[in-house]
Symmetry: C2
DNA sequence: CGTTTTCTTGACAGGGATCAACACTAGTGG
DNA sequence: CCACTAGTGTTGATCCCTGTCAAGAAAACG
């Protein structure tokens, strides 16, 4: 995708908004506002259960378009909440479709986004189903590093990781207490350090190995390339 | 979607194929064959882990189009395996796009399919992250009942559920042994019966309540309706 | 029928949950 | 500037849900 095409997508018009930490950006049944494009901050789609538990479904970082092609009316089934103070832009479905029609590279970028988002959710399923607590954390930290890098954010010497241990628990299907203890294990193993909401990967190779993190599913090599062979 | 439109989608041309139980229908890097449309049998997309564990990502029932808009070349990241003897048809991406262009209802049906598939994966995440073993099983059985019904397959008086307890474990992130014991609990509670691969829901209301199954995420009411307001 | 797969059961171990304090940090207001 | 408060991180003790290992039944299959 060329700079120009990227500019088209990132420059999509739409009403800007912001949400404080803990507030919802979007809720089911509150009318279709369009597709949120995260400008700053971390947010997530989540589900609340009867017993008060929360499960975070997907994490959105700055630059992420929440659902590239949006939803049909009446399909916004899960709330979108701000995990930190977040600013965003609501772009209309039509604007996105228009951009896709204008440039083949744009359209391809949107498909790419959709498929990578799907893969991220699938890796999430693998983590929740078959990985231990420490492995889930390790996998997440590896994924975040790559995603931030792909979004053009700096990750040299670590990155800011604003999630609380409770957030991590809700994302990875664990209790805050157990997140705490697993983090200590990771620190003790010399794989990471995490203090003041700043995460540093101290031994990337070993961390990736223990978490079985294979970056292929993020298709980073295609994220900024020209149109492929289709 | 009218009968005619549905016929267009279900009647999509493509090379037919079949796979015995346990064999793969599609593997990463084996060239792009198009989009598999399951005709008969149950299949799944899965991932294998280093220690031999398997995690099933999504389950496909007869009539399911595996990824409504297909993937981009080089994006088939997970194998598609047959859980029972399966027959399928490989339809080309172009054919699907052509059908979508021909009829607005067709296009809408494809979007619907994409969004419902996404919701199913998200509920899967919730189950794996926050539900107990018995709840996961209960939720799955409720979901399968609805999906089979939506696909036009009979569910009156129960339905055939060909998955082994090992398959259920790989789907729900559990051990076969624990699946076995949790099933016995569900039977003892009078919620279900499962024998000879036939499942009967004995108390739907209570089963849905204990699993917190809310059918809304499947959007059944829109699956066979005409074009909405978009 | 014999063979393989699947289901069932028992004993035991362990990862993660739960409950409950306490420490630390940061923001607030007097 | 210093309590005061609320949120977050840390730790300990204990419980239990689920995993592991192993062996038999039962069913499916050729």
């Amino acid at each position: 995708m060329s700079q120009a095409d990227e500019a088209i997508l990132l420059g999509l018009r739409g009403s800007s908004g912001q949400a404080d930490k803990g507030r919802d950006i979007t809720r089911p049944h509150d009318g279709s506002h369009g597709i949120p494009l995260i400008v700053k901050g971390w947010s997530c789609r989540y589900q609340l259960l009867g017993n008060g538990k929360r499960q975070i479904l997907t994490l959105y970082l700055p630059g992420d378009l929440c659902e590239p092609f949006g939803t049909l009316p009446g399909f916004a089934d899960y709330p979108l909440g701000a995990l930190t103070f977040t600013t965003y832009r609501m772009v209309s479905r039509q604007a996105v479709f228009h951009a896709a029609g204008e440039s083949a590279a744009c359209e391809r970028a949107l498909w790419w986004d959709l498929l990578v988002a799907t893969n991220i959710e699938r890796e999430h399923i693998v983590s929740l189903g078959r990985r231990s607590a420490a492995e889930r954390l390790g996998h997440l930290f590896c994924e975040l590093e790559m995603r931030l890098e792909m979004a053009g954010l700096p990750t040299h010497g670590g990155y800011d990781m604003p999630l609380t241990q409770a957030d991590l628990g809700d994302l990875l299907g664990l209790t805050p207490v157990h997140v705490n203890r697993s983090l200590q294990d990771l620190r003790a193993s010399g794989l990471i350090s995490l203090e003041n909401r700043r995460l540093t990967i101290r031994n990337r190779a070993e961390l990736r190995a223990m978490a079985e993190f294979d970056p292929a599913y993020l298709h980073a090599e295609q994220s900024r390339r020209g149109a492929g062979g289709w």
